[in-house]
């Protein structure tokens, strides 16, 4: 009944100037499990919560290495992330081969932003359905960027994407000073894991199976800690469960609730002629 005429392809503007296909792509990120990035002056840490489809299945990888000085965390469609990271790897190798210098984090992230942007103004294509946190250490120091399929790229000291990521963002905002001043990479990783812990829903806790940790920085090549290697970092936490969530009523809630809570006004702007919800 309320079928929307303005969300059939990524080249059509709605009367209010929105690109719904792009916004749906941003929605796909919120469906993905959470990833958190934090940057001190010397290091950048990415942590991710891995999900498995079923008990017997393996966990979907969240962290991808680009080069010795760069790596990303993803939330959303993993295949799209593979495409983008393969492209980044190509860029990094090209920089190494042609100029004998490591690819700078800013030009890396801008190069995929340009790719993503192209998909928002050409007919027949779709936007990438994945968000990335890009960590890198280059000649200008440590950098953390958030990449979105809209082509927007912003630099952060702390950022989180994926399901229930608002909770992590709250932690990061509260502890920004401490995170920036982290003297060691251990300290920074603990901050990252603390933020990630806040995204957990009830009955879930951080284990070495569902947690991935990566670090890159001064004199530190991009390293991913997976499985048993993660335990050493989990041991540094006071608790691996989300304490604020223990008496959470609705188990099923996720990003939707968080988004609503913080942006009720934004949600109410929808008019009947320009609505996004097509499901009913």
């Amino acid at each position: 009944m309320f079928r929307n005429n303005y969300d059939n392809d990524s080249v059509t503007y709605s009367p209010t100037g929105r690109l719904f296909q792009v916004e749906y792509a941003l929605e796909a990120i919120k469906q993905g499990s959470a990833a958190v990035g934090v940057a001190s002056k010397t290091h950048v840490v990415l942590v991710g919560l891995k999900r498995n489809a079923e008990e017997l299945g393996s966990y979907q990888k969240k962290l991808i290495k680009i080069d010795n000085h760069m790596g990303v965390a993803l939330a959303g469609l993993a295949p799209d992330a593979r495409v983008l990271t393969n492209f980044l790897r190509k860029q990094a190798m090209n920089s190494k081969l042609v100029f004998n210098r490591p690819l700078s984090t800013s030009s890396a992230v801008l190069s995929i932003a340009d790719k993503a942007q192209e998909n928002t103004q050409s007919y027949g294509s779709r936007p990438y359905g994945v968000g990335l946190l890009v960590s890198g250490y280059d000649e200008t120091g440590s950098h953390l960027y958030e990449f979105q399929p809209s082509g927007s790229v912003l630099e952060y000291y702390g950022a989180s994407i994926g399901a229930r990521s608002q909770a992590a963002r709250t932690y990061l905002e509260k502890n920004l000073e401490k995170i920036r001043e982290s003297a060691s990479m251990e300290e920074l990783i603990v901050h990252g894991l603390n933020a990630l812990r806040d995204t957990l829903s009830q009955d879930v806790e951080l284990t070495f199976k569902n947690t991935s940790v990566s670090v890159v920085g001064k004199d530190t090549n991009f390293t991913v800690y997976e499985d048993e290697d993660v335990q050493q970092w989990l041991d540094k936490l006071d608790s691996v469960t989300n304490s604020s969530n223990r008496n959470d009523e609705d188990e099923e809630e996720d990003a939707g609730a968080a988004a609503e809570a913080e942006g009720n006004d934004a949600g109410n702007q929808d008019t009947t002629e320009d609505r996004m919800e097509t499901d009913e």
Partner: protein, 270 residues
């Protein structure tokens, strides 16, 4: 009239008999069926001679004359062969001038792409990057059997601000040293430069004045003995203050007084 030059002036077979194609291995095939589908550069045409470069304590001095020779004809005398790339890199080119101009365009494009597009100002193009890039370009071209007929010296600074001086040639060969020269200079100038810097690490003992002096002396020796060299040249100084060009420098203090005492080639006394 038939405008195909291949058809001009052939003696008619009826009068003179069949043309003997064995003469000078001449072919009678039309041009489009030539056995060479494509011909690459086989030799340089307009050429330029040596480029010199020497490191000193806090920078580099480079020199190259302004001459473009057409064989033995000293054809063009206002060619600037030391070109600035980015903010603090100088590339000196010798060899074929048309290929040099092609390199100039490639480097201009590189500068636009790397220094302007998508750059937050943190991605500066420096000498080691320019050198690596040029070595890829030249090696790639020679691997296609279509070389750019040049020898190149790249001067600038490393990440740690120490002087950078490296060579690349038309084969893609590269090497670095505290004293470098291309062409005739590698025979005549490098021995003089090495007197000032006997070992690679010794450049730290050399002042800007000493470096300039030995370059001026080397340019004079090259003007004496290289028949494709010119009297006016450009001298470039790179240091922490930037890149300074001295143009239209003249070879000075030539000694020709002795010439009047030389008579004949042996026994002639008068």
């Amino acid at each position: 009239m038939n405008h195909d030059p291949y058809q001009w002036g052939r003696p008619s077979d009826q009068t003179y008999g069949q043309y003997n194609h064995a003469i000078a291995n001449a072919k009678n095939a039309p041009a489009e069926h030539d056995s060479f589908p494509k011909m690459n550069t086989q030799n340089p045409i307009i050429t330029s001679t040596s480029v010199l470069g020497i490191k000193y304590k806090d920078g580099i001095v480079m020199a190259a004359d302004n001459l473009g020779s057409y064989g033995s004809l000293l054809r063009f005398n206002n060619i600037e062969r030391l070109i600035k790339v980015g903010k603090e890199t100088v590339v000196g080119v010798s060899g074929d001038i048309s290929d040099f101009q092609q390199l100039q365009r490639i480097l201009d494009e590189l500068e636009t792409e790397q220094e302007v597009y998508d750059n937050f100002g943190d991605n500066n193009l420096r000498a080691p990057h320019v050198h690596e890039f040029l070595s890829r370009v030249l090696y790639n071209r020679r691997s296609k059997m279509n070389p750019l007929w040049n020898s190149v010296i790249v001067a600038g600074f490393n990440d740690d601000r120490s002087p950078f001086l490296k060579y690349i040639d038309m084969l893609g060969v590269t090497y670095g040293a505290s004293t470098l020269a291309t062409g005739f200079g590698s025979y005549l100038a490098v021995p003089l430069l090495r007197k000032v810097i006997p070992e690679d690490k010794d450049y730290v003992n050399v002042s800007e004045e000493e470096a300039k002096k030995v370059i001026m002396d080397s340019m004079r020796v090259l003007f004496y003995r290289d028949a494709r060299s010119a009297e006016t040249f450009t001298l470039v100084t790179l240091n922490s203050e930037g890149v300074k060009y001295d143009k239209q420098v003249q070879v000075s203090n030539q000694s020709w007084e002795f010439a009047k005492d030389i008579t004949g080639y042996g026994s002639k006394q008068l």
